[in-house]
């Protein structure tokens, strides 16, 4: 893994890494991935993937109206709010 790759992955993950973190993760992730490479020695061409060990499919419920959490309770944790809205930095040019 290169430092540029680490910077790209950090951008995908929305993490602003410091230069020191970027260096450290380059070394650590490289050694972790190298250690994991021996998975490739297994032939898995005819093996299906497991996403959940106890498989359940199509869990449905009736579409009934139930009480939601009070808006005030939910907004109590907002970093910034205005009336009943979350405030975020501008994303559309004025």
């Amino acid at each position: 893994m290169t430092e540029d790759e680490v910077a790209h992955v950090a951008y995908l993950a929305r993490l602003e890494l410091t230069p020191e973190e970027r260096k450290l993760f380059t070394v650590q992730l490289d050694s972790i991935l190298a250690h994991f490479r021996h998975l490739q020695e297994l032939d898995t061409t005819s093996v299906p993937p497991t996403s959940h060990a106890i498989s359940m499919q199509n869990v449905l419920r009736d579409d009934e109206v139930t009480q939601s959490l009070p808006v005030e309770d939910v907004l109590a944790n907002a970093p910034e709010r205005d009336d009943s809205f979350f405030v975020v930095p501008r994303i559309v040019e004025s």
Partner: protein
């Protein structure tokens, strides 16, 4: 009589039902012990004395014993939502978050009128094996304060071992209930995937996470499991199967039981004294009428890499929600949207969480998905098949819970791969979704060793019966760490 804080929950339930102690006395015993020892153990992120005492006072006033666990002091790992009580996941990003709702497990315990003494420390977002990844502080092992309590539910295990509460809830994604229970000399049960609702458990790796009890003995584990198990319409992965009466499994009998001893859990990487303790436990079971045979589970060696690709991949997706918009830390002002998210997440997450988000994002990214994530999911199938084959021959598998006893604080933090190896024996169980329990089975240099009993899917009853039988024929679970003379322990004297 032993002090209240040393007794099991079921013993305390008897005393309460017979009115030999009041609910308030019991709540105070828990809070006093926290007051006395937690400055050294540091198991708690938040202590809730007012709520605890008001629940106890109401129970005393009602002059009735409404439910089995009423009045029992319990701690909740701080990644389970508690309405009106901060739920931090031991992360700076959630330091000030107060959930507007209860996790289903918390709701079920509150219906039984348990006394919640507080919320316990963990490795940030349950990612770690020692609590050293907590964003706040490290919890200390009550048996030797210079050592880790294990993790990620290290606070819950230490709180039970130190007598601060009678029982606690933990969560287990790769061993996070069983490994700390083993390190702290208490009982930890990870139920089958789907047995207990995860609604309100802050998600780490959704295909692996499961909630379970940490207690002083197997009877208590059965009682707490009884209280929290069962289908929940709010968690679509919880299974709509009836919940058996787990107390009926508390029978000391293993005659004819078929025990498998998987070779791969007794070889390289397992400390010899730990292996000997577990082999002695198996010998005891055989002397009680069980049969034991060795088996090979050849894909065990791949479990660690499979886990450390799948869990970080799921975590990178689950933790995308901490974006500084709806709740949690927002640091940057006067910057654009992406910079606000990047800065908030960089400041809010600790190094291990970032490392796993990076690893998972990489494994899921274009060009690497097939080689890493999909490959890991396929090998997960092979690991599960190893277990399926074992179940054709055996009722349970017995293994060490952890390859070592509790290690020194600081010994592994700089080497992630070495830290990951602490979960060697527990991770395959999560990958296969199975129930497993850790029970104390001896001591090495004064530090507890855990025996892991692994069962078939939804065979919690068998797992409990085997663990109970072992416990009835041994005394390990009755030992308590000596914290009161703990200035000596702080200098390593507990050894």
């Amino acid at each position: 009589m032993a002090e209240l804080q040393e007794l099991t929950a079921h013993h305390l339930m008897d005393l309460l039902a017979r009115r030999e102690v009041s609910y308030t006395d019991l709540a105070k015993a828990s809070l006093d012990t926290i007051e006395r020892v937690d400055s050294q153990v540091r198991a708690f992120v938040t202590v809730t004395p007012e709520r605890a005492l008001s629940v106890a006072a109401a129970l005393d006033a009602a002059k009735a014993h409404p439910s089995p666990l009423a009045g029992i002091p319990i701690a909740i790992k701080d990644n389970m939502c508690t309405r009106g009580i901060p739920t931090t996941c031991s992360s700076k990003i959630l330091r000030n978050w107060v959930p507007p709702y209860n996790a289903t497990v918390v709701e079920r315990l509150l219906q039984q009128q348990v006394v919640i003494s507080g919320k316990t420390n963990l490795d940030e977002f349950a990612m770690g094996s020692s609590t050293e990844n907590s964003g706040f502080f490290t919890t200390h092992n009550p048996w030797d304060l210079t050592r880790v309590p294990g993790g990620s539910s290290g606070g819950s295990a230490a709180a039970v071992a130190a007598g601060e509460v009678a029982a606690a809830l933990g969560s287990d994604t790769g061993g996070s209930i069983r490994q700390p229970a083993s390190f702290c000399g208490v009982v930890g049960l990870k139920p089958t995937y789907g047995r207990v609702s995860r609604y309100g458990l802050v998600a780490f790796a959704s295909s692996l996470d499961q909630i379970g009890p940490i207690t002083r003995d197997v009877t208590d584990a059965a009682i707490v499991l009884q209280a929290i198990a069962g289908h929940d319409p709010r968690d679509s992965t919880s299974v709509p199967l009836p919940v058996p009466d787990y107390t009926k499994s508390l029978v000391a009998n293993v005659k004819g039981l078929r025990i498998g001893k998987p070779r791969e859990y007794f070889g390289e990487g397992i400390d010899a004294p730990v292996r000997q303790m577990v082999e002695r436990a198996i010998d005891l079971m055989v002397s009680l009428g069980a049969q034991c045979e060795e088996i090979s589970m050849p894909h065990t060696q791949y479990a660690l890499p499979v886990y450390y690709l799948i869990a970080p991949s799921e975590c990178s997706s689950n933790l995308a929600r901490y974006d500084g918009v709806k709740y949690g830390l927002r640091t940057a002002q006067d910057v654009d949207m992406i910079a606000m998210m990047e800065k908030s997440r960089d400041e809010g997450f600790g190094p291990e969480v970032k490392r796993r988000i990076m690893l998972g994002t990489y494994a899921l990214s274009a060009g690497y998905y097939d080689a890493y994530y999909l490959k890991a999911q396929k090998v997960r199938t092979l690991i599960k098949r190893d277990f399926d084959r074992a179940w054709e021959q055996f009722d349970v598998l017995l293994t060490p819970t952890s390859p070592t006893v509790a290690f020194e604080i600081g010994a592994r933090v700089a080497d992630p791969l070495r830290m990951y190896a602490a979960d060697l024996c527990t991770i395959p169980v999560n990958l296969a979704g199975l129930p497993a329990i850790s029970v104390p089975c001896g001591f090495v240099d004064g530090l507890p060793v855990g025996l892991q009993v692994i069962g078939k899917p939804f065979a919690e009853e068998t797992v409990l019966q085997v663990a109970y039988t072992y416990e009835q024929h041994t005394e390990w679970h009755k030992r308590r760490p000596n914290l009161e003379g703990s200035t000596a322990a702080a200098g390593g004297g507990a050894k």
